[in-house]
């Protein structure tokens, strides 16, 4: 049909231009297809990108990060415990690829493209909100994974706090910290299971409490509860970017050993009770619940009658509040026990959550239940 038209009328200037553009586009398409199918382009990691490709990717990456970080609110990151927790997670989840700050990295990982950078300078190049975006979302085509439990975005900040402290204090900060925090578990050397160091470096033992108030105290918890918690982390039915990589590779036997070990461990002394209005409100809720709001008393389940329920006395207020918030936001109801608590946590106001947590934190941490002597 077009041919007919062409024969009848000579093309106008505009039509000739359009035809030329179409021809050029077609040439690009065909050329591009040939290029892609031919296998000429080398995507090998041992060949760096063209300079222009690197330049383009860098702009694309940084613009994308800046855009995604627009609405991120940065909390206070100065807490030393938070920094320490971040350092410990760096050891678990980051050090494999990014190496020990300030030291030459493992050649396996320096052979990646892009090469995982030393993070000592990361905080100079990116503000905290952008670091958060990178760690939480990951980076496509770079090998940088997203946070393994995306719903637990609250956990990411510990790592950002660490990266900022690392930048401020230099690479020795990390190695010094790990050396200083090394905690040989002293109590029962004969029965110490393999890999206990992975637990104690954050959760502490009977000599020292947890590394940060966001980390729960495990000593005094029952064997059954500890076992269930590790199994839930392993199955990823309980979400945590900190615990998932640690529990992932655990065998049933390892879980059994670790649970047995911690269940027999005593607790170091915790804070004394403090009075006050909030304390009394919390005590009231813990002992009697809030019947008019359909909130049952915490003690009915959490006082140790059932080994499947965790003991809450002596846990830090920050940890308890954090977990109740996790429940309120529907992030911990994939397990049978979690679903029970989820229904109850949603009935608590933020103020009641604070009161309950403050009160429970002031109670002495539980000591292991003595084994029945025959």
């Amino acid at each position: 049909m077009d041919d007919k038209v062409v024969k009848v009328h000579p093309l106008t200037r505009l039509q000739r231009l359009g035809l030329a553009v179409l021809l050029v586009l077609a040439a690009f398409l065909i050329g591009g297809a040939i290029f892609i199918w031919s296998g000429i382009y080398n995507i090998a990691a041992n060949r760096d990108h063209l300079t222009i490709t690197t330049w383009l990717i860098t702009i694309l990456r940084d613009q994308s990060i800046t855009g995604a970080a627009q609405d991120v609110d940065v909390p206070d990151l100065s807490d030393a415990g938070l920094v320490a927790l971040g350092a410990q997670h760096y050891l678990t989840g980051c050090a494999d690829c990014h190496g020990t700050p300030g030291e030459p990295n493992n050649p396996v990982f320096t052979s990646m493209l892009p090469r995982p950078p030393d993070l000592t300078d990361a905080a100079r190049n990116y503000p905290a909100s952008e670091l958060y975006t990178i760690v939480h979302n990951g980076l496509k085509y770079s090998g940088m994974p997203a946070w393994p439990a995306p719903e637990r975005s609250d956990e990411v900040w510990a790592l950002i706090a660490f990266i900022e402290a690392l930048n401020a204090q230099g690479p020795e900060f990390y190695t010094d910290m790990l050396a200083g925090l090394s905690r040989p578990a002293l109590s029962k050397p004969g029965t110490m299971p393999d890999g206990i160091e992975t637990c104690t470096r954050c959760h502490g033992d009977d000599q020292s409490g947890p590394i940060d108030e966001l980390v729960p105290r495990l000593s005094g918890q029952s064997h059954d509860y500890l076992k269930r918690a590790l199994e839930e982390y392993r199955a990823e039915t309980r979400a945590s970017g900190f615990m998932a990589p640690i529990a992932h590779g655990m065998s049933d036997a390892e879980i059994e050993d670790l649970a047995t070990y911690y269940a027999a461990l005593g607790s170091p002394e915790t804070a004394e009770p403090d009075g006050g209005e909030e304390f009394e409100e919390g005590q009231n809720i813990v002992l009697h619940g809030i019947p008019e709001a359909d909130v049952p008393a915490c003690v009915t389940c959490h006082l140790g009658a059932n080994a499947q329920f965790p003991r809450l006395e002596g846990q830090s207020a920050a940890y308890l509040m954090g977990q109740l918030q996790v429940w309120r936001h529907g992030l911990r109801d994939d397990t049978g026990y979690g679903a029970i608590m989820a229904a109850i946590a949603r009935r608590l106001t933020p103020q009641q959550i604070e009161a309950v947590s403050t009160y429970l934190a002031s109670l002495p941490a539980p000591q292991p239940v003595a084994e029945d002597e025959p």
Binding site: G289, P291, P296, Q308, G336
Partner: protein, 331 residues
């Protein structure tokens, strides 16, 4: 289908709908003094209204099709004044007075002084039923109202959350349950039998599943029942029941539920002291048997969405069976 077939089909369907008027929740089968009066009033009004309606239809027909003479009478001023003014005034006055008389308007409620008082509180979505003894004793139960036949009983109706409405059609009219106040309703069961009641004010998603049963019993049976209800829960008999009792304690059920004599004294959910002796579960939603207990414990959010009990999927099959057997044994 031809028109006559369609018509007879429609007629049959109407008859089927009429069948809905029968049954344990029908106001047409009163078993209480108040419901009997309501039924009388209903028939007086319905019959009187029907007679007048037929009169009007006949008059209209005559006015359109009748002979000149009759039509002239109908159009006359005397007929208008008589049938249009005098008759309605007289008929409505008579019916009004009849209504007052039938319903005993203004009369002090039946003398329930010193009689049985029962506090009924609407909760989303069940009924907390507390038998108030003259000596101040309170026996709590749920979702079932037991009444002695022939004795006036005062219900003290209130609510723990939103507005509900208490309606036991075979016994009395409905009365709203308003937050912060107590509405009193006096009932007198006139014959023994089990009937059904229903929340009659939309109170949220599971409103339709908020029912209850009314058990009217001869006074001596009622006294026996009351004595059993006032007693502590029976100790678990079999091995399975004993394991179930232990599970009940360990799983923290007592934080919300009371089982008198078993150390469980939660006040949030229904009292379970004698739950096994009730006629239904979950506010007349499920039958009362071990299977229904198991279903409710694990899957209550599907049976009655958004009810306040968390789903308990933590039990394995054997545990669930033990727990259900225990609850069923709480007679």
């Amino acid at each position: 289908m031809t028109a006559p077939v369609l018509r007879s089909l429609a007629g049959t369907l109407c008859l089927l709908a009429l069948a809905g008027c029968a049954g344990e929740q029908s106001a047409f089968f009163p078993r209480g003094a108040e419901a009997e009066r309501i039924e009388t009033l209903f028939w007086v009004m319905t019959i009187a209204g029907s007679v007048i309606f037929i009169g009007v239809v006949v008059a209209t027909g005559v006015a359109m099709l009748g002979g000149q003479r009759v039509r002239r009478v109908l159009a006359g001023e005397r007929f208008i004044a008589g049938a249009g003014i005098a008759f309605p005034v007289a008929a409505l006055s008579i019916l009004l007075v009849a209504g007052f008389l039938v319903m005993r308007a203004g009369a002090a409620g039946e003398d329930a002084e010193g009689g049985l008082r029962i506090a009924v509180s609407g909760e989303r979505w069940w009924w907390r039923v507390t038998y108030l003894g003259e000596d101040g004793t309170q026996i709590e139960s749920a979702n079932e109202l037991h009444l002695p036949v022939g004795e006036p009983v005062t219900l003290e109706l209130t609510t723990a959350d939103v507005i509900h409405s208490f309606w036991a059609p075979q016994l009395a009219g409905k009365l709203d349950m308003i937050p912060g106040r107590i509405n009193r309703l006096t009932l007198t069961a006139t014959e023994p039998g089990v009937s059904r009641g229903q929340c009659a004010e939309y109170c949220g998603g599971a409103h339709a599943f908020m029912s209850f049963q009314v058990v009217a019993q001869p006074p001596e049976d009622f006294a026996d029942w009351m004595a059993n209800e006032a007693a502590d829960a029976p100790a678990p008999q079999g091995e399975s029941e004993a394991r179930g009792a232990e599970l009940f304690r360990q799983a923290g059920c007592g934080a919300c539920h009371t089982v008198r004599g078993a150390g469980a004294n939660g006040r949030i959910g229904p009292d379970l002291t004698h739950v096994g002796s009730r006629r239904s579960l979950a506010a007349a939603t499920l039958p009362n048997d071990a299977e229904a207990f198991a279903r409710w414990i694990t899957d209550n959010q599907h049976i009655k969405p958004e009810n306040q009990m968390p789903p308990y999927t933590i039990f394995d099959e054997a545990e669930l069976e033990d727990l259900s057997n225990y609850l069923e044994s709480l007679k």
